[in-house]
Symmetry: C2
Amino acid sequence: MRSVQPNPQSRGKILAAAGELFAEKGYEAVTVRQICTRAGANVAAVNYHFGDKESLYKEVVASLVAFAGRAASESHTGSAEQQLRQFISRYLHGLLGADRPAWSLRLMQREFANPSPALKLIVEAVVQPTERRLRGIIGRILKLSPASTSVRLCAHSVIGQCLHYKHAQPVFVHLWPDLWGKPDRVDELAEHIADFCLAALRGMARSKKGRND
Amino acid sequence: MRSVQPNPQSRGKILAAAGELFAEKGYEAVTVRQICTRAGANVAAVNYHFGDKESLYKEVVASLVAFAGRAASESHTGSAEQQLRQFISRYLHGLLGADRPAWSLRLMQREFANPSPALKLIVEAVVQPTERRLRGIIGRILKLSPASTSVRLCAHSVIGQCLHYKHAQPVFVHLWPDLWGKPDRVDELAEHIADFCLAALRGMARSKKGRND
DNA sequence: GACAGATTCAAACACGTGTTTTAAACTGGT
DNA sequence: ACCAGTTTAAAACACGTGTTTGAATCTGTC
């Protein structure tokens, strides 16, 4: 119908569309035809610009790492307990927020459960810095070394609770629609998780004093 | 080479092989040829016995529901806190244990994150009874109604921590090989989660007394 | 032993996938 | 206006998928 209008930013559009789709459905479930349709490009564009589907995925992960790595090194402020609240809130918003950096955390979560060779990169550039930061906060609360096993386990207790609401999202929507309908549900969830974890950490810090650990 | 030896339990073998594979890799990632190879059957067997791949999956879910539904109604004993420890230990062993009912919990977890029409069945037959039981235990500890929002959120804090170690298993193996090498790692994890949650619940119960909630 | 029904087998089918091909269109420089 | 290099387009390719086919084989019964 209309004459062909060239799109010099086709590469970028494909990269963006691929990021959304990979995060949404996973690597295998997304077809290059879907990506190109969303990007308004031809099927062959993926192979022309990126070589093949796998290389495109690697570039998506690379851009994710560059972005999320920056976010992971954002500093928190206030007391250790306030910092933990901030951490949880940011993390949960990244997972569940509609606006936000969008798909980056979601794609990472997919990599965790269904790893590809790109996992190593993500772990080193994002997961480890994030875990280090969280262990630092928890270490201060528990008055233990950030490297201790207790702190490490507690850090995963925090992260596990956050990720749960992403992982089981379909179940929640089906099972618990009232909370999921509210617009500020994420803040409520973040507040609960923070309350829960801080209560746990205070209790563990107290009971630790008795023994020598 | 050898003459064809008929296998009258071919149907059952396919069902078992399909269960393992679906739990391991997910519905889409498993091919009927893989299933039939593992079951020692011909490719056409699945369509002969079950009609198509989707019906086979439904039967797998049905057998899962029958089994896991029974397990979900097993009773716990002792004080509320002991019951919580039991609950966490059983749940985690079901997720991570090598021996155990094997794939049932793993397949459910896959349904949660990537739901099919079978999700509704699983939720009603397994998830809701499990959640009810857990809410009962937590309600007794917090001295609150099992239906209250606080109890519900705490229940998901417990379950979320358990599921995390399944979801992120590949990351842990890559990032934390020392704990993951130990044979009784599951017991250690269960103990930590129970300690963490009980500390949290005691703390929340205490702080609840001050206000009126 | 022979028959009828149930089951298994190898082969083929229709379709969707990632990828490649080949020609056309665009772009900027002269 | 022309031309080389870059980008896009439609079609076709090779392959893996779930499924179907029709013949061969087994099973139980007479």
